[in-house]
Symmetry: C2
Subunit: 448 residues, 2 copies
Amino acid sequence: MSSDLFRFIDANADAFVRDLQRLCRQPSISARGEGLEACADLLVAQMQAKGIPARLEPTAGGPPLVVAEIGDGPRSLLVYDHYDVQPTDPTDEWTSDPFAANIRGGALYARGAQDTKGNIMARVAAVEALLRVRGRVPVTVKFLIEGEEEIGSPHLAETLRRRPELASADACLWESGAKDHRDVLNIYLGVKGMLYAHLSAQGARRDLHSATAAIVPSPAWRLVWALATLKGPDERVRIPGFYDRVLAPTPAEMAQLERIAAGRDDAAIRHELGIPMFVRDLTGVALVRRLFFEPTCNICGIATGYQGPGSKTVLPRRAAAKVDFRLVPDQRPDEVLAQLREHLRAAAYGDVAVEAHGAEPYKTPYDAPIVEVVAETAEEVYDTPPLILPTMAGTGPMAVVCGPSRMPAVGTGVGHARGNAHGPDENVRLADYIQGIKHIALILERLG
Amino acid sequence: MSSDLFRFIDANADAFVRDLQRLCRQPSISARGEGLEACADLLVAQMQAKGIPARLEPTAGGPPLVVAEIGDGPRSLLVYDHYDVQPTDPTDEWTSDPFAANIRGGALYARGAQDTKGNIMARVAAVEALLRVRGRVPVTVKFLIEGEEEIGSPHLAETLRRRPELASADACLWESGAKDHRDVLNIYLGVKGMLYAHLSAQGARRDLHSATAAIVPSPAWRLVWALATLKGPDERVRIPGFYDRVLAPTPAEMAQLERIAAGRDDAAIRHELGIPMFVRDLTGVALVRRLFFEPTCNICGIATGYQGPGSKTVLPRRAAAKVDFRLVPDQRPDEVLAQLREHLRAAAYGDVAVEAHGAEPYKTPYDAPIVEVVAETAEEVYDTPPLILPTMAGTGPMAVVCGPSRMPAVGTGVGHARGNAHGPDENVRLADYIQGIKHIALILERLG
């Protein structure tokens, strides 16, 4: 019954790829405020050209949302995505320009190709296919596409408090999903939360000759010592209270973790990543439990002093670190921030300044009807049942979008295990992209 | 008797400043290998134009030395300097281009203005003054000007082993010296040694989305934890054996430390640097003892992950730190390197790689005849007796140059307390530069 839809998608595959290239060629780096309005304008134009009545929805101080509503029928589906992307650093490690959207070896290479412009255009293409083949979309689809996901969605909550109807639906299709190392589609029922903290320490008013380090305090050392109090080599976070709200997996979740572990080849993943072991030398169920049910404390970057080639002897005037904590239910970013500040104060590092923003974790129950629809249609398109993960290991504003109405959300998408989101040579395989379009089209038809 | 010399120097002050500007406008960053040969060629040409028979002396793999011998008389004086400079980072904190050599407020701003092109040209100008006013230099002056001091003089020892006559003299005038916060000239009888260590840790083969930090080891954390084992918040180095060879000050040195401390205004220095306290809240004799008689362990720079604006969520694939240890007699860099490696291995950080180079400390006794000559002439030129420091807090290849023959060495120069060597807006005050020329001319005359 969907073969005509699939035929249309296959017949128009080249055009769908060109649509994605066009969107990927527009830089939209929220961390740098680069190209966001231009990207939103482009996306609205691309959607309108396909018959989707897209428009800009202003936010109070951030780039606009791209929103659209199309279709009819008894049910409604919110489609959440974001048009912003991560910075391209280290840019010199890319094989081709991050915004060239070059195609080679059957994959499109661009910052944002997987995360998440590939998903935006797959969903737009699926709606286009229904409009062109069936003449209508049999479910009310609401697009909600923001431009600040990669910096923690600082303006989304306020906008949705003002305009709750933009996120009101029966269920939500979340932004991402990917095939794993065995090429089995993984779908996600939740997101981890986050506390993203900027730590900084100040020294003298200017960089000094390092001979003065004998007597002048060093902000680099202050920062290193402060960081070393946050987590030890045992990989356990040392901030008092940090783990208090961490929920253990339920029996049903543990059973699902067993299934997930059974399908993973830990050694192959290690080999692909080029690491001798995972943290604490974990494998199997313990490893996936840590991945999905435990919070993290990660150093995203440290900057201090001279970082060029050779030897400069300097006492830096400033040191800064970016630390992200991925949080799990029922941790709360505001509470963790308070714990972090109190910990630094108590450990005599009150001179280390902390600025932070956060996101709450969120989880959809396994038995929500949308889960079955997404999983069943995935099996039809991908020929094998998808692996249902309790949560993605990453973060997104799912609690902001879905939390107020406790809307169930499922993530599925066009990524793959070597798609390298956030890293150099991010890419999406064209075959996965086309398959993803079919999957979304089938979901929309099945909800109708 | 020297008034004719001083008149000549005053009358030609503008030309001497232009000479210095010309040398400062030629970049010569040894850490980056930038402009070294061009700077050596320029310096030879400048010296030859003044009647000094300068020439290039090749080294085995590094930039050439600039050497010259001029003058006669029973005594000989080695003049050691270096034409290379530190990198300009953070370049955006300079008020004017680091190689523009702009003059404002009576000072010349350039990378290398104080360290040490100002001293090179002051010494060249002093010889020129003697040649022009007296027709001869009454002491054999040997210039030895290298191009790799700021990266630890990797080729100097080998060259001097091959050509020991280039550094053979009765005494040595070392490269630097500066007025302190009270504008009293400080002269130095030694240098600290150094071990400059590049530490690095490796993680996965590429940067990863930070969600994977739950299970993939982080080189940034490995580096932070390893660094935190090197020195604690008590500012004491924790590498076993590190302090074993540190010599306590002699009674004569303690008496000199008392004189040094009596002349310092610790609070004023703190205020100028913008720091609330010195390390361990030290003041007075304890502070200057630490400055001159204790080794350091300083972080010159850390580079890992994302360092741009905003928030990037990444698990970096690599982390690196540059750490310099300033060493005091009788510490030896090769021994400290072995101690560092053994410490990291024993502390389970054998995965943190160390590459390093070093320099030995060196000290001249107070009663060496050259000390009296430099101090007496300084009092004549500067109107107040100079402060004699047992050592500079910084490092140089004094052991390489003076060690083999136990030649006494004294450092004096044209710097001042806010000259900001190695930092942004490095500068030399023109009045100090002219005064420094007079001081060197008087030293040369007195030795004759």
